[in-house]
């Protein structure tokens, strides 16, 4: 019958069409808010966007974002600079009493957010390595920026936690069982990354925006790394390189230090990364006194600043209401705003480079040079130091001076004080009065949750 032949033909057509085509029918286009990794690294523009994403993410990441769980706050609590306003917030109290439990959410948040940024940097490094569509200069620059970020993250990890997993790839099978690497090896990698970054990065800032990493940012961080490693010569040399770039960097007045793209800033993080209309830094919101502020300055530290020291008025504010009265960190002036961005969160700045060089010079026996550098900082704060400092100080006296100046200058910035106490082995001397202090407290615990997920992670002593 004619009809049945037609049916057969039709069925055959239907069948073959179905069987042959299922696979390709199910292929869908990538949605327009996503971009396949391969495509991201197929052109200069999109690869640069991936780097831009990392800069943005640094603002949103806990360890670097300037919120109450950031290194600036928790490091300050661990040291003798900051205190919680009330004792209600257990996780802050644990830091200020140096009695941190392995379940502490702050310890976990710093660990997590830092390794997330390490992943982003590694992902970008792998992306540009496998790509053929990126031009040579852009590839170099991106490599330098990502290596800097990776080194920066590992620097804080190794300083806060001691031996830490050194993560150099995005392979999650491998990274989920990765053991801790010895501190010295982590430092070796940090130096390797920063040296390569110095090779490939330009001196200038892209669009004159200092939230981009340039060569001097890598130099400045490398100077700090060498200081921590007590490579005094390199530390002096590298910090001098930054200080000598006077067309880019200078010491402005105290109220201008933390402004966006201030002449002192070597590397900053822009609130633009937040991605909404709020334009202020989190540091401003976290520190500036209000009824909801949870962090204040340690009154003992405040009392070390003379009233003639302009930093005691420019960088410290006073808050009082019916319940509380305290001094607060007032380096950032903008607590919350929706207008234009006026301030960037400053990570690396020229002031620190002077203090690095002062310390390096002191250790190299160049006492007058060290005093010159300290004076630069003190002069800006309105202290006439030429008559103030005895030029015949010995090393320990001048180191004492450097340390005091570092505290006054860099307080509430990036845990400087905490890391200084630790590297100079002063922590017990300074914090020993805290009843819960133990020598092993200089390292934070490896978060319990991480250890339960990765059996190869050991714990620090004392936890």
């Amino acid at each position: 019958m004619k009809i049945s032949i037609n049916i057969k033909r039709l069925l055959f057509l239907m069948g073959t069409c179905l069987l042959a085509s299922c696979e390709s029918f199910l292929e869908v286009d990538v949605p327009d808010d996503k971009m396949v990794t391969e495509t991201v690294f197929a052109s200069d523009e999109t690869a640069e966007s991936a780097m831009q994403g990392i800069y943005y993410q640094l603002f949103n990441a806990t360890f670097s974002g300037g919120t109450t769980s950031s290194i600036s706050v928790l490091g300050g609590l661990s040291a003798d600079l900051l205190q919680p306003v009330t004792s209600n917030n257990a996780f802050l109290v644990e830091f200020s009493e140096n009695e941190i439990f392995t379940e502490n959410t702050g310890v976990l948040a710093i660990w997590r957010s830092t390794y997330n940024i390490v992943y982003l940097a590694n992902n970008l490094l792998e992306g540009i390595e496998n790509s053929t569509g990126i031009s040579e200069p852009v590839r170099d620059r991106l490599e330098g920026e990502a290596l800097f970020i990776r080194a920066f993250c590992h620097f804080y990890l190794v300083n806060l936690y001691g031996d830490v997993p050194l993560v150099l790839s995005t392979d999650y099978d491998k990274n989920s069982l990765i053991p801790r690497t010895e501190t010295s090896q982590v430092y070796e990698q940090i130096i390797l990354d920063l040296e390569r970054a110095r090779e490939v990065l330009d001196e200038d800032y892209i669009n004159n925006e200092r939230y981009y990493v340039n060569r001097y940012a890598a130099t400045a961080l490398l100077a700090r790394v060498n200081l921590y490693q007590e490579n005094w010569n390199q530390a002096e040399e590298l910090s001098s390189e930054v200080i000598d770039a006077s067309s880019l960097y200078s010491l402005p007045s105290l109220n201008e230090v933390f402004l966006a793209n201030s002449s002192e800033a070597i590397w900053q993080i822009s609130p633009a990364g937040r991605g909404n209309i709020l334009t202020s830094t989190n540091e401003g919101y976290t520190f500036i006194g209000s009824s909801s502020t949870s962090i204040k300055l340690n009154p003992e530290f405040v009392s070390t600043l003379d009233s003639s020291d302009l930093r005691s008025t420019s960088w410290i504010g006073h808050f009082s209401n019916e319940n509380y009265e305290y001094d607060f960190v007032h380096k950032y002036k903008d607590r919350s705003s929706i207008n234009n961005i006026t301030e960037y969160a400053t990570v690396l700045r020229l002031g620190e480079q002077y203090l690095i060089r002062a310390e390096a010079r002191a250790n190299l026996g160049n006492i007058s040079g060290a005093i010159d550098d300290i004076s630069k900082i003190r002069e800006r704060a309105g202290i006439d130091s030429t008559s103030d400092i005895d030029p015949n100080l010995n090393l320990s006296e001048i180191m004492d001076l450097v340390m005091k100046e570092r505290a006054k200058e860099l307080f509430a910035e990036w845990g400087h004080r905490w890391l200084d106490l630790k590297r100079l082995e002063n922590a017990t001397e300074v914090l020993g009065e805290t009843p819960t202090w133990q020598e092993t407290d200089v390292l934070y615990p490896i978060p319990a949750e991480e250890r339960s997920k990765n059996p190869n992670l050991g714990q620090n002593p004392g936890y």
């Binding site: 019958m1 009809i3 049945s4 037609n6 049916i7 039709l10 069925l11 239907m14 069409c17 179905l18 085509s21 299922c22 696979e23 390709s24 029918f25 199910l26 292929e27 869908v28 990538v30 949605p31 327009d32 808010d33 996503k34 971009m35 396949v36 990794t37 991201v40 966007s49 991936a50 831009q52 994403g53 800069y55 943005y56 993410q57 997590r112 390794y115 997330n116 992943y119 982003l120 992902n123 997993p165 993560v167 999650y172 990274n175 989920s176 990765i178 633009a272 990364g273 937040r274 991605g275 909404n276 209309i277 019916e322 929706i338 949750e449 991480e450 339960s452 997920k453 990765n454 992670l457």
Partner: protein, 1002 residues
Amino acid sequence: MKNNYSRLKWVALIILGGILFFLSKAANAAPTTPLFQQQQEVSGIVTDTNGLPIPGVSIIVKNTTRGVVTNLDGEYSIPAAPGDTLVFSYLGFKPVEIVLQQQQQVNVEMEEDISALGEVEINAGYYNTTERERTGSIARVTSEDIELQPIVNPIQALQGRMAGVEITQRGGAPGMAPKIRIRGQNSLRDTQNDNGNLPLYIIDGVPINSAPIPSYTVDISNTGIDPLNTIGLSNIASIEILKDADATAIYGSRGANGVVLITTKRGYAKKTAVSARYYSGMGQASRKMDLLNTQEYISIREQAFENDGVEPIVSNAFDLLVWDRDRYTDWQKDFFGGTAEIQNAQLSVSGGNKNTSLRLGSGYHKEGTVYPGDLDYQKVTTSLQVNHTSDNGKFNMDISLNYGADTNNFLHSLNSSLVSTAVNLPPNAPSIYNEDGTLNWEDWEAGNRTNPLAGLYNTSTTKSENLLANAGLFYELMKGLRLRANLGYTNYNSDELLKMPKRSYNPENWGSVSARSINSIVGRKSWLAEPQLIFNKQFGQNELDVLIGATFQQNSDSRITMSGYGYSAEAQIGNLMVAEDVIVNTDRTIDYRYNALFARIGYNWEKKLFLNLTARRDGSSRFGSNKRFANFGAVGAAWIFSEENFISDNLTFLSFGKLRGSFGTTGNDQIGDYGYLDAYESTQAPGGLIPIQLTNPNYSWEENRKIEAAISLGFFEDKLNTEVSWYRNRSSNQLVGFPLPSTTGFNTILANLPATVQNTGWEFVFTSRNISTRDFNWRTSFNISFPRNKLLEFPDIEQTAYANIYRIGEPLNINLLYRYIGIDPETGLYSVADINNDGSFDYQDRTVVRNNGRNYFGGIDNTFIYKNFSAQFLWEFVKQKGRSAFFQTGNVGNIVNQLQGVADSNNLQVPSQTTLAGRQYTLASNSSLTTTDASFLRLKTFSVAYNFPQVFTQRIGSTNGRIFLNGQNLLTFTPYKGLDPQDIGTYLPVLRTVTTGIELTF
């Protein structure tokens, strides 16, 4: 791949076009070349045993799609050939089969059949079955039970009517998406944004994306808006819910959570009829909390200060020292005590002849709210159904178009919802308004509070439009072999605009706030093509039904969300052009493609033994290329043992008996799109790209194995019918975030874990015709379900985000609680057990598990018909535990109002505001003390109607008419002291509504 696909689309279109062309050619050509025997016109009249004509009897030529319906005078006419069998069927009557000789006049007398429900066709999705013959578990509700209910969402109408179907109306605001669980929660992912527990919805054969539309409005953000709202209730003919493997496996990877089939009304081949209906009425919140008055409140507050030995000062006792101590406001009355007016109008026209029938139905529904201000919900729906059969009866075309548009105006309170504010506010809090009608800021400011109605000037308007188009095309290739194409298109758009003017804020803060808007646009489009081949063959006592088909489906879902800030003029809020800043929060389009082959073989022997095999091979773009395809299938069988002689001879009281059972596998592909893709996403800030997750190219479906056994019995000529079912569903291969250490960059990776969730249960359904006489009828139906839900296994749950949410061996809907010890006699404060004696209270001490799920639930429906009067009562009942209302306000002694009885209760701690009291309160509010009986019995629907006598209707030229009154949620009995026991918490209780109306048919 784009190219491949478009080529494929053309191939598919050409084939479909070819089918259509072929069909139309054949349809036209066929009559001139009769294939079998000469067709002739057969006509007649159908009457009941009293000789009265029965309109609406369906007459089908057996084993064909040819069919007509008797007109109002019981007359029909149908083309048929000698030897054909005419099947006469009508609800409530025994079917009649007549084999045609040469006669052209066939008059039929139909006998009333109390068991005739068995012959009603049930939609099983790709095929139809009957109550008598079904092998699967299918529950059904028809238009009579749905259309008069003054509700917005069709799913709400099912509450209490179906065994195993748990429906919670989550709040009394119109349009909120109800929660539906068919035989329990299968997936661990149960949040609003990532929900693996939604059933598959199919409207007239077209699957739709039923996920609630997210809303920014505070008061409904926890549920979202249901896209089903735009379906007209009066256009629905029936809703079937498919529950077991036998019924759902043909839906493969989408059937795990059950399938909801909505069928719209069709026209009939009878004379044109116009039907009009109007009802109106009003609704109020069905429950309020019984709270303290000012005097009682103040006495408790003063007691707290006394207990604590603290002197009240302005900063801690503004309610006592600043606010008026004599003032009393019933905030519940002010904030949600309003009356919602409801109006509904329907008009439908239907008619047709033996070839073509059509129905056009339009409706308008308007519903106010119980909130203050001028808010309402409005919808307009229109549906058009056309059915055409060619003269030779070989070609049939069934078109349905459903269009709905609605507008929902909501309040957007600034902080918490108005309902929770109302139950928390001290009764002596100051007035909301100044004398001039503006918002009162000053008096509230004095108490360090914000006027709770601050959001009154905020408006949220959500406009939705929904088009559902479906075409079903049949062609009978030869006797017993039919070709079918099911084609569908859906287009849903929703646009929410939230406006927040400065007026909503305290003028003091105007310097730091910005007038703003949020605009959220959701679009969902899909097309579907399902070519099918259907074969039917009878040989001897055997009958075989075979169906094979394929599905091609594409969905495209888009969402854009934009915020505008800094509007200078209130009138311009929402126009992004005049906003100072515009931020695009979301802009994404998601494509989903789905492809399947499916088949069903239905076999029966002597209409006694039934076997039903279904299978589906599914492919979905949601999965990585390694896991694109999977196979699903089920076996169902039924044995009507009452047909066996040894039963019918010996057990004469047993008029019907059937054993049935099924087992099979379905899947769950509700897992979000593109999860396998190694990709970067745009950052919130402009110009950045960032990877946001680790990608696992191997992730795949959640798998759901279902097994069911059931027995159906009819007694005393089916006056009493009952069905008892037992089921067990195990959902494994759960797709969850697998924990990873952060050194990998992230904490989790989406992966299928061997975690298993089990749902078991018993369902009982009884229907009985208690009294059935000419003047008086009384019918009762009763259903009750005993669900049990359990997390069977979950390896390494301790390391996942689910560690403190679920417990192995326990149901999913639980709270982990401290063990409450009692009131500490020394302090007068609550105390809970420190199980591990470590001095701190954490999840390790939370050893008491409270199951918040239902122990059992069901409904009892009684219908009485006396002459022209009818009345129906539907009671819904639920046995469950929940969180006590005493812990929904706050610590006794704080500046929050309390439930009545708080002063006399010995179980509550003394009024105190100390830190310790606060801490103990918090511990106790997470302890076993909070567990209370939250069961309820509710008169869900009550309706009475009066059918106009014919003498009256004839006088006004009408054929039929009635007036009716409908009440919803009129009575609720519960020991629960909070708002609505149905959805525990401080949400707007469902409305108690009464509507009256009239319906006339011409």
